[in-house]
């Protein structure tokens, strides 16, 4: 079971605490990971760069970017860590009638609805102060539609990756959260600008 694997993994790490805390071992572990991540993030960067003109014209849209990136990753990590914990506890059953899955999905949808409605209002207010012209209705349409699409996407990606990691025999705590957070960050930007492109 993956819980047993966890314990063994911890013991392995404790065997050599001196190399584990050496500068070269930390740098050589993390740099390749961060480099790969940066290459992936260029996808959302390219989308931002493509929409540069609209972003500069409408500061409200620029305000949306960091929130969209952050919230997408947050929702993904909540969904994944809950599914992973339920998997470890043995209460997880991948079925739409499972009460755990239902409450995870319900919570993610509710959180997205709350955050993205507030975001629409806040970006409108701040955008106006910064000299933007986009209306409240348009911004709410953009944030709520892209937020809810994102929530559905987060649910799908998290469930599929926790299930996949379980089937492949990896502990979803180690594998899915970094992967899903980054996938959600990147697709968050893609979804946002997909909606912006349709609305504007």
């Amino acid at each position: 079971m993956s819980a047993g694997g966890d314990v063994l993994h911890g013991e392995d790490l404790d065997d050599n605490p001196t190399t584990e805390w050496s500068v070269s071992s930390i740098v050589t572990t993390l740099v390749p990971l961060l480099v790969a991540l940066s290459i992936l993030q260029m996808v959302s960067g390219t989308v931002l760069e493509t929409f540069e003109e609209q972003l500069l014209e409408n500061p409200s849209l620029l305000i949306l970017v960091p929130v969209m990136i952050g919230t997408a990753g947050n929702l993904g990590s909540i969904m994944c860590s809950r599914l992973a914990t339920q998997l470890h506890l043995g209460t997880l059953e991948f079925s739409p009638t499972n009460p755990d899955i239902r409450s995870n999905v319900g919570a993610v949808m509710g959180l997205a609805a709350t955050v993205f409605s507030l975001l629409g209002i806040a970006s409108w207010l701040i955008g106006r102060a910064l000299g933007g012209t986009l209306g409240l209705g348009t911004l709410l349409l953009i944030t709520i539609v892209s937020g809810m699409l994102l929530a559905v996407w987060v649910v799908i990606v998290s469930t599929v990756s926790v299930y996949g990691s379980y089937r492949l025999g990896y502990d979803p705590d180690d594998t899915t959260i970094p992967v899903v957070t980054n996938i959600c960050d990147i697709t968050g930007v893609l979804i946002l600008f997909g909606v912006v492109w349709v609305v504007l």
Partner: protein
Amino acid sequence: MVGHDSAADVYTQALPVILISLVAGLFAGTLLGTETMREGIESVPGILLLLPAFLATRGGVYGSLGARLSSGLHQGVIDPHFEWNDRLRNAVIASFLNGMIVSIFIAVLAWGVLLALGRNGSLLELVIILTVAALLSAFAMLGVLLTVIFKGYRRGLDPDNVIGPVVTTVGDVFGVAFLLIGIAVAGVLL
């Protein structure tokens, strides 16, 4: 019952963290939307291109430093009273190096993507901006993170619960602000 939280329970537990990240994101976004920053974005091709990678990198570097120090405190291999022992020094130096190496890599990568998109970009300008931004981020993030972890730990706060919100809240705001300073420095130097 364990493992059977209702949707409302999950919602209430997660809402504070999500709202903190909303407020932090709005701060960072407001900085991005200011007149000065928009002028910077307009005058330096590639800033928007490297923005997501730059912000994600700092989350990765300082989030993992925080997690490492927090595990070290829990395991007792790091002393809860702040003093420069080898482990702490190594972890801090390593995260500084990680931040610098990856940020400069991002500058080069962004320049490459600009070329591939058929746009003009100055490699030197992007490298200067990211070096300045990464350097300032390192000082600010290390200062905040070490203070919060050690002071928090002595007051009974579990660093595992604090690092995430601190890194996201402080990180994005500092990140955007220091990019702006980097743009100004590059403007003076070039």
